[in-house]
């Protein structure tokens, strides 16, 4: 049983405070849907959990199974069982998927204390590629280079299937995917969750994804603050009403920008 706990998290980037006291928890076999308008801080939260150097934690804590992950390097966080499927995965010319994933798996030991054998790795990779309906040559192509938007997203899920994390954050994994691909990707995520009791934070703008990946909890992030948590009925509410009422309820006004000699920019809560 694993648990990721985020407490009173304040995060800045380029001198601007983006997350303002976020509290969120997810445990094994639980799926949290994280929603919010553009620019509300969802990706900042996911990158912060995964230790991206562009984001500075000003205050608060993030723990997995009682361990402070803010003290861990990015690779240690991964090996502790965290995984981030990125909204815009990076391309790495000259490094093949096969080499990269094998090396990532070699950094993790199997239950009997050994690294996975080359044969078992190859079988598992082939199966994962097949499960995701990906082209067979994908393993020997360079990481994300010349991949379509959909292939990149599937490649993130492929890596997740190979690394089998305890907790995964899926940042807009549905963007760039057609209807059939959403079904395939969702089936693979659900199967891995079922198999390993993986905890999930799933970020998406669209209700459609949550018809496939059923959330246990829905959290709404607006202007860097979690303004509402609820069950899946909150998805219906957002689908019908948008975020305006939730903003008003939380006392959040739109950013005001006046231009002129005495121009100023202010966020009000």
């Amino acid at each position: 049983m694993s648990k990721l706990i985020i407490k009173d998290l304040w995060v800045s980037a380029s001198g601007e405070m983006i997350l303002k006291g976020v509290n969120l928890s997810v445990e094994s076999n639980e799926t949290v849907a994280l929603m919010g308008p553009n620019g509300s801080g969802k990706s900042t939260l996911s990158y912060t959990i995964m230790g991206h150097p562009s984001y500075k934690v000003e205050k608060g804590s993030i723990e997995i199974d009682g361990e402070d992950i803010l003290k861990m390097s990015v690779d240690e966080r991964s090996r502790a069982g965290l995984f981030l499927a990125m909204q815009q995965p990076y391309e790495i010319n000259g490094v093949t998927n096969r080499d990269f994933i094998k090396q990532a798996m070699d950094k993790r030991q199997t239950k009997d204390g050994h690294i996975v054998s080359l044969y078992k790795f190859a079988v598992k990779l082939d199966k994962a590629i097949e499960d995701l309906h990906m082209e067979k040559d994908l393993a020997d192509r360079y990481v994300n280079e010349d991949f379509s938007g959909g292939e990149k997203k599937k490649n993130e899920i492929l890596q997740m299937k190979m690394l089998e994390p305890k907790m995964a954050i899926l940042d807009e994994i549905d963007s760039g995917l057609d209807v059939d691909a959403i079904n395939i990707v969702s089936d693979n995520i659900n199967a891995l969750k079922e198999k390993n009791k993986m905890g999930l934070i799933v970020i998406s703008h669209y209700r459609r994804l949550f018809e496939h990946i059923k959330p246990d909890k829905v959290a709404v992030l607006i202007n860097g603050t979690l303004v509402k948590e609820g069950d899946s009925s909150l998805l219906d509410y957002i689908d019908q009403n948008g975020y305006e009422d939730l903003k008003k309820e939380a006392g959040i006004e739109d950013e005001v920008t006046l231009l002129g000699e005495c121009a100023f920019k202010e966020n009000k809560k």
């Binding site: 390097s73 990015v74 995984f83 995965p89 790495i92 000259g94 490094v95 090396q103 993790r108």
Partner: protein, 272 residues
């Protein structure tokens, strides 16, 4: 079988051959008319000076791989391509100390073409100077070059890549891309892609980028569990992968040069 070749000797190459060169001198290789050949050469020098000369006769096709491991040496390559001949050239230079290289490809025959992939690096205190010249001496000639310079420790790399398209060499195409990777704070790379164009009806392009390994690439690999050192190593290895792939076409040659190729990226064992 790995063959030795002696200074001033001239070899005519057929099919696939592997040579090891360890002494100063001039060496000449000839590819006969209409022959398709693969030539693998390992140059292992300490305070020596060698000149390698290659002559590709009309309609010949050469796949050439040269890996060098040197200490304070000078290397000169002169490759001449005659009518309709084709060259695919993979070159890796590694030096423990100073190295001076001058490599010249002369596209002398009509419709001759050359494709080059070069990786250069030095040990912590190495100093590399050199030039790579493409001379378009006939019309409809084509060359394309990718150059990777890896600088570690206090290494200094100073290279010019020069393409010369002479007057009247109509429909010739020349392209050169340089990528310099600084692997430490004190490393220096000065690289210049130079185009000398003396005629209008040609196509030419060049590009040069020098910097550290992209921080986002390192982050991405680390987010999957690789340490920063592993991430840098796997990215550095990507630069020599094409040469390893070519060298792998001859198993004996691969076994011979792999340790030196891995030295190029600061690794002494094949981990993948």
């Amino acid at each position: 079988m790995i063959k030795n070749i002696f200074p001033s000797e001239e070899k005519t190459i057929s099919l696939s051959e592997v040579y090891r060169i360890e002494k100063s001198g001039d060496y000449t290789f000839k590819i006969e008319k209409c022959i398709e050949a693969s030539l693998f050469i390992f140059v292992d020098l300490k305070e020596e000076k060698v000149s390698l000369n290659f002559s590709l006769l009309p309609y010949s096709n050469l796949s050439l791989t040269i890996v060098t491991n040197t200490v304070s040496s000078e290397i000169e390559y002169n490759i001449n391509l005659e009518k309709e001949s084709k060259l695919l050239f993979y070159s890796s230079d590694y030096t423990e100390k100073d190295l001076k290289t001058v490599k010249t490809i002369s596209l002398s025959g009509y419709h001759s073409s050359a494709k080059v992939y070069e990786v250069t690096s030095a040990k912590e205190e190495g100093n590399i100077k050199g030039a790579f010249n493409f001379n378009h001496n006939n019309s409809s000639t084509e060359c394309e070059g990718d150059f990777y310079y890896l600088a570690n420790g206090n290494t200094s790399i100073n290279k010019d890549v020069v393409a010369l398209i002479k007057h009247g060499m109509k429909d010739s195409v020349s392209g050169e891309k340089i990528k310099g990777i600084l692997l430490s704070k004190n490393a220096k790379i000065e690289a210049k892609p130079i185009l000398k164009i003396e005629y209008d009806e040609v196509k030419a392009s060049h590009g040069c980028a020098i910097g550290t390994i992209d921080a986002n690439e390192i982050y991405y690999l680390m987010s999957r569990g690789l340490t920063k050192e592993d991430a840098m190593k796997i990215i550095s290895k990507s630069f020599i992968n094409p040469i390893i792939l070519m060298a792998s076409k001859n198993e004996e040659y691969k076994e011979l040069v792999l340790p030196y190729l891995l030295k190029t990226i600061g690794s002494d064992k094949h981990e993948l």
